[in-house]
Amino acid sequence: MGYEFIEGNEAIARAALRSGCDFFAGYPITPASSILQHMLELLPAAGGTAIQAEDEIASIGFCIGAAMAGRKAMTATSGPGVSLYSENIGLAIIGETPLVIVNVQRQGPATGSATKGAEGDIQFTRWGTSGGLPIIALSPATVEEAYVLTCAAFNFAERFRAPVFLLSSKEVSLTRERVDLGALELPARVERARAAADREYVPHAFAEAREVPAFADFGGEHIARYTTSTHDQRAFLTSDPTTIQRMIDHYEAKISGAEQELTLLKRDFQEGAEDLCVSYGVTSRSVAAAVREARGRGRKVSSLVLQTLWPVPETALRAACAGVRRVIVPELNMGQYRREIERLAPPGVQVTGVNKMDTTLISPREILEKGGLL
């Protein structure tokens, strides 16, 4: 048996390598720095490239350039760095660039507490660039999940030609745990669909809005084009409203229309439960302990743990909320994802938040007490 005792950041780096990641650029920031260090150590041996950039803007810029030249790219930072990524995230969305962005969340706003945990970047991830187009975001709760979901993030990035967030936190990334990586069930590796070499290449070709365009590497068999400006399918600047709307519909439908395929979650439902806990990230571990305890005391409680946060797994959430009296949403922020539950829960279902942002974890006891499960 091959147990190891490793932190989440090491799991993320090793999962990236296993997924075929061959380009990494990052800028030091607690609590994400050890991903940069691991990648600098691991990538050259695998024939890849890792570089510490001059700032976060350069980190993601390098990654976008490399990804468009055909590399599988990843960058990692924390909330302050994501702020600096913001404009380039929009570029990666409209340029349809496969890219994995790790946000190891820490207590904010601003510099906040560099070494303390929080999960306060949930809505920021969704709305973190101008224009408001959808994004994919996955959130691990354990070191093993950090490994599995990093693999899933690379797959989604390739499959949808899109930037994908891995929303880790200090609590997952810097906590060491016993893992058995060899025993994990991993998704089969996905590679981006490449454009045929013998036909004219159209960088954003689609017939149906939901279609994901085939990709041609810069420096490959085709003349490739890429632009930050409003463009048509050939990546030429356009001011034609019909064309512009068609492109926007495409970016929107490509992600929002793939909700089923993008939904990753864990259900622990109990027949006849009146209470449902919806959680994600490290807080879902406290929920697991709280639910066990509540059931031990004879309460009937269900739990839904979301690994995919964006796009919102609406179908699964609606189904889970139907039939319960109350939904409890514990979060290490002041109630960001609760907004999504509130809009999805059927009328009459009460939605209760258990929230704090004091840099400590929400304990199972707090969920039992503040969630009314005692």
Binding site: M1, G2, Y3, E4, F5, F23, A25, T30, E41, P44, A45, A53, E54, I57, A58, I60, G61, F62, I64, G65, A66, A67, M68, A69, G70, A73, E87, N88, L91, A114, T115, E171, L174, T175, R176, E177, R178, Y201, D217, F218, G219, G220, E221, H222, I223, A224, R225, Y226, T227, T228, S229, F236, L237, V282, S286, A289, R292, L361, S363, P364
Partner: protein, 447 residues
Amino acid sequence: MSEAKAGSYLSTETVPLPYCPGCGHTVIVSAIDKALQQIKPDPRKTVIVTDIGCIGLADRNFTTSAFHGLHGRSITYACGLKLARPELTVITLMGDGACGIGGTHLLNAARRNIGISLIVANNFNYGMTGGQHSVTTPSASFTATTPFGNVERPLDLCATAIAAGAPWVYRATAYDKDLPDALARAIRQPGFAMIDIWELCVAYYSPRNDFKKADLLGLLNGQTMRFGQLADDPRAEYSERCRQAYQAAGGALPPRREIEVRHAHRLERQLGVVLAGRAGQKIRSAAALFAQAAIASGLHATQKDDYSITVMTGHSTSEVILGKERIDFTGIDVPDHVVLIAPEGVKQMRARLATLPETSTVYADQALELPATRARVHRLPLAEAAQKTGKTSLGVLALACLLEHQGMFPRAALEGTLAEFLKPELAAASAQAVAAGAALARTIAAS
């Protein structure tokens, strides 16, 4: 694929060149085309990288691959493309405005010597947004944002690039006869090459300052700037240097530490252990070795550390949870065992010590001052014992004492972990520390 007509790398088939009549950009774009015609690179292996500004519209007219990015960030994409595919010819076109907002990328690409060429179309103001002043606007001249004359000093882009380590730097005007040759040389450089081309913005800068072609040379008067080749000092390109450094280091990776279950634990319920001391006591590695020994005994384990940002001073604490089952909540509400080996650790744990229940146990060095607590306290000569085994073994010694006293897993598991994971010289000292810690535990049992 649109083929270049008669060898030209420019096309106006999709869009015409967008520049105002008389704009220097048209001259520069045509000179780049002539340079490319000299070099004849495969257009698919050539990327024109641009960003925002009038010059950034030029990529649409090249028949090569083209990448148009965020304002001032073209160098970052160019570097990404070049690092990913070193065989590419990557040509970056920027305005003087972009050199301001993206100045750090210019400095760092030059310093690293990444093999891209940077062509600066320098017309001393922002044309696209209405003629505002830029980092290169000459002193005393008029722009939309210097209504009383520019009070700032212009940045000497070439001197800046040279100071940053750019191996190849050249300054020209757009109207130099030999500009295509100079551009061709810049593009052919294996390392970072910058060419600063002075030119006219006929819509804004020229009329506001009555500025004509002949005045470009006059700008040098009173300044230290020069035209022509300003640096030509090639050195190994970045990717090449990376390869060399990696090979020279032998490419050895630290070994993975796989843990085999060789022992049987005696744990009944989940336990929370806190080891608290000060920086430099190897708290974190002692806690990790303890946790790994627990894993070698078939247990689950988690570890969280807390220490000051300036790592060599202040407290250092590690929280380890051991469990028979998977560990959900990774926090420790109430520690079962607290091991204290320095005053900094005591200070950090003060509030928690005050609320510990009778069921918790504290193992503390006998020299430490402790706050009142209901927990059972064992004061032991831990530091004194560690004097014989080495100061950095104190953490291991104290945890060995805890282990021997509580017996949650066999001492042999800890001994085996130390022997397997530590360097031989450290392993020997640590083995002695384990023996010494266990001996202290037996004094508790005896008393």
